[in-house]
């Protein structure tokens, strides 16, 4: 398949830059949307002066205004401040979840793709079992076994992502181990581990990283879902899913409690998906 990147190889450098998928307006917008919560997570104090845990004497259920951009919640806390301070926990949980899926899934896929035989059969049947269980059911089961809390929710979501990474890693590995440069590496005396580290993993990493970015959006959504259901961080610690969950009783009287945080979560998920798609596009 001809990709825009390949087509542009022969073009002058400026044209190539202009046609780069990274510089398209939608991609730039997606990058900005992802960047904002990352900055919220790293430097929350720069973005709000409000206390996310204590509303003081501020009235509850105030609509959005200049002082409270997202209004105040059911006990008078600033919803924007809670979103800003909640970003760290929500994004960290998503990163842990993707990391769990990426590391364990890749390990399974690479071992299965290089070892073949009964090891491959056993590993890939385990992956088949994981695929056959609906993600939310699997993560709920895991979180009930591990106990409530953000890290446990992240681990639960990560476990549901293992299968996808394992299948992709195996497929990539199967292609790479048959290539001439791997045969040449073995021919020049490299052992199995060396080939795995220097040839298989670097060459399989592109699609895996693209999947990781795509999974990030999905993980944010899944973690928010589990927090919404009450399995995540205990109150009053802010976390995106919990903030939406706490506001759901007031949909008719204070829509901003659910709609504005919901838009933030949706925007970050869509933007992350966009970046993942671009990464995949570039990789191809």
């Amino acid at each position: 398949m001809n990709t825009p990147l390949k087509n542009n190889k022969a073009q002058p450098r400026r044209t190539a830059l202009r046609n780069s998928p990274w510089l398209k307006p939608l991609t730039l917008l997606a990058g900005l949307i992802v960047l904002i919560p990352v900055l919220w997570a790293l430097f929350p104090g720069l973005f709000t002066g409000q206390d996310p845990l204590d509303g003081g004497s501020t009235a509850s259920l105030l609509p959005p205004d200049a002082q409270h951009w997202f209004g105040t919640d059911q006990v008078g806390r600033d919803v924007y401040a809670r979103m800003v301070y909640g970003a760290g926990r929500s994004l960290l949980a998503a990163i842990i979840a993707v990391a769990v899926g990426l590391v364990i899934g890749t390990a399974i896929g690479v071992i299965a793709g290089t070892q073949r035989g009964w090891i491959e059969d056993v590993l890939m049947r385990i992956v088949d079992v994981l695929v056959s269980i609906p993600g939310i059911l699997l993560s709920l089961s895991v979180v009930i076994i591990l106990g409530f809390g953000t890290v446990n929710v992240a681990l639960a979501v990560g476990i549901t992502a293992i299968a996808q990474f394992a299948r992709l890693a195996r497929a990539q590995t199967l292609g790479i181990v048959r290539s001439d440069y791997v045969a040449a590496a073995y021919g020049s005396g490299a052992n199995h581990t060396k080939v795995l580290i220097h040839h298989v993993l670097p060459n399989a990493s592109g699609p895996l990283l693209a999947l990781a970015v795509l999974q990030l959006g999905s993980a944010i959504l899944q973690i928010s879902t589990l927090s919404f259901l009450g399995y995540g961080t205990p109150p009053p610690t802010p976390e995106w899913g919990l903030i939406i969950s706490e506001g759901r009783n007031f949909v008719a009287t204070a829509w901003w409690l659910t709609v504005l945080p919901g838009i933030i979560v949706m925007a970050v998920v869509v933007a992350t998906n966009r970046l993942g798609s671009v990464l995949r596009e570039v990789g191809e």
Binding site: L26, D54, S60, Q74, V75, P235, N249, A252, T253
Partner: protein
């Protein structure tokens, strides 16, 4: 792959347009709500669709204190006496007259009305009435049926003749006459008295035979309980203007835990009644022209108990600091409306034995709270939570699910505690989990609750170790007490023959919990109902449970399910 995504297709635009139009059309299909002319006469017919926030758990009458249970039991059972919700005066109901009581209130004699039958066809006899109170007064551990917290010091019952029964008590039982008027003393048929706790639980409701104006006819566990009017019901309290069958054909008690679903169903006209309208929605309900009924509960006020038997709360200075840290007015301003008045005593102003607490009883003073904790040797740790001898001053509270906005109340208390360096985590979980955890003092040290009952005994119902034991005051294994004096005073309230003595003991109880910083009353808790305009004649019994006997539907149609 194309360099950029194509714009929305014609089909997508058309789909979105059709969807939006459909939503607008559907939103216009809500049930119209028109006012009923003043003076309209009751008309029979129709099934009331009514939403509860929680599912009922057990229909054993002594367990009727839990609101979803009580809301059903109050309508399916009849009692020996009837208590007027406004005056709290007692009237005959199944008994032909008020009981004859001996001088020290240890013997109660009732004469029974003839011709009363249960919904299974069996007759209400003198022996059956005695058997009811034998069960409520003694309980049956083998069947998992508890002693009624309202029938104290029970010594036995006897049949004097075909229509006369007598109950005896080992100590004065001045609250018994009122107790037999509550839904906790609802009368059950002989076959029903043989059920075990599972037989009174979800899935078995249709087996429960009662002699109230409605009888259970169908059940879908966790979502619906249908009761239908008994055509042969002809034993309403004699002083009622309305006699005979209930106006309604029946009531469908629906359950949905999602508040927004319940309130939305009422506003859109999908149901006709909802219990537990929260403060933020009260204005909206009125604006929509719907009826808002705030019924006082005439019992113990919504309150927080500090369990002094726990090592972290054993020091009175810590308890005083916690009470001083809580800003009750802030809780009311932020979460509630004028229908939730600030508590001025342990019991509500309309409750039996109300005494106004001294003005300085529960003063909010953060500086004093901090000073008390400093004096007690608790110093702030790195995370802001105070520590002493390696122990963190971190407590845990329950969530009182039947109480309005309990989680938000405790969230504000959590904020107040954090300001003085005390940690508070709020127990999550469903009613069963809350009940289990609340019995364990290691899991819950700060207990949020309220109990409604229009009698002096209500304080014993909440704090006595024989009843709900909100203070978790006594450990049977070790024999340790949190505050033994509490139990001694409560015994005087439940065991004194004269009303004046009981009233004095209740005032003493209030002063004791103030002095010992054991209880912080927050506000007088009403039960707030919302109804469509067509629902008429609704009122509650003395502690806010719905009474549907006199309720009627102006359009007469109702929209219940076939049952």
């Amino acid at each position: 792959m194309p360099p950029s995504s194509p714009g929305p297709t014609r089909r997508a635009v058309l789909g979105a347009g059709l969807g939006l139009t459909g939503m607008l059309l559907l939103s216009a299909c809500t049930h119209p709500d028109t006012a009923v002319p003043a003076g309209a006469k009751p008309v029979p017919g129709g099934v009331l669709d009514y939403f509860e926030p929680q599912s009922w758990t057990v229909l054993y009458p002594p367990a009727g204190g839990f609101y979803p249970n009580g809301g059903i039991l109050n309508n399916i059972t009849a009692r020996l006496l009837y208590q007027d919700p406004q005056t709290l005066k007692l009237y005959p109901w199944i008994a032909t007259a008020l009981p004859r009581i001996n001088a020290d209130a240890t013997e109660y004699t009732f004469t029974l009305r003839p011709g009363i039958t249960y919904s299974d066809g069996s007759a209400l006899t003198a022996q059956n009435v005695v058997d009811n109170f034998e069960l409520y007064g003694r309980g049956d551990k083998a069947r998992g049926l508890a002693v009624s917290e309202q029938v104290t010091n029970y010594a036995g019952g006897e049949v004097l003749d075909e229509h006369t029964v007598r109950f005896r008590f080992s100590k004065p039982a001045p609250g018994f006459a009122q107790a037999v008027s509550t839904m906790n003393s609802g009368l059950l048929a002989d076959a029903t008295l043989k059920l075990d706790s599972a037989g009174f639980g979800p899935g078995s409701a249709a087996k429960i035979a009662t002699c109230g104006p409605f009888a259970i006819t169908a059940e879908r566990v966790g979502t619906l309980l249908s009761v239908r009017a008994r055509e042969d019901y002809d034993w309403a309290p004699p002083h009622f203007k309305h006699q005979g069958r209930a106006y309604l054909d029946g009531i469908d008690y629906r359950v949905n835990k999602e508040y927004s679903v319940r309130i939305g169903s009422l506003v859109s006209g999908q149901v006709q009644g909802v219990r537990d309208i929260q403060a933020p929605d009260q204005a909206r309900i009125k604006d929509k022209g719907l009826q808002l009924v705030a019924a006082p509960t005439n019992g113990v006020n919504n309150n927080i108990s500090l369990r002094s038997r726990h090592r972290l709360l054993a020091d009175i200075r810590v308890r005083r600091a916690l009470i001083a840290s809580i800003d009750r007015q802030r809780i009311l301003t932020k979460l509630f409306t004028d229908t939730y008045p600030l508590a001025t005593g342990v019991v509500a102003r309309g409750a039996a034995g109300y005494v106004k607490a001294p003005d300085d009883a529960w003063v909010h003073d953060v500086d004093r709270a901090n000073a008390l904790l400093d004096e007690a040797g608790w110093v702030r740790g790195a995370d802001g939570i105070r520590v002493k001898d390696g122990a963190r001053l971190a407590l845990r509270s329950n969530t009182a699910l039947p109480q309005p906005r309990s989680k938000e109340v405790m969230t504000l208390v959590q904020e107040d505690f954090a300001r003085i360096g005390v940690g508070l985590s709020i127990n999550d979980g469903d009613q069963v989990q809350q009940d289990l955890d609340s019995q364990d003092i290691e899991k819950v040290q700060v207990y949020h609750a309220m109990v409604a009952r229009a009698d002096y005994d209500v304080v014993a119902s909440e704090w006595s170790i024989n009843n709900r034991d909100a203070l978790a005051n006594h450990d049977e294994e070790s024999g340790a007490w949190g505050d033994e004096e509490v139990e001694r005073i409560l015994a005087r309230i439940t065991g004194s023959a004269k009303a004046a003595d009981r009233e004095r003991a209740l005032a003493e109880f209030q002063q004791h919990v103030i002095d010992q910083a054991l209880v912080l009353p927050l506000f007088e808790e009403p039960q707030v109902f919302g109804f469509r305009q067509e629902v008429q004649g609704f009122f509650t019994e003395p502690v806010g449970r719905p009474t549907f006997y006199n309720t009627w539907l102006a359009d007469g149609a109702g929209r219940g399910e076939e049952a």
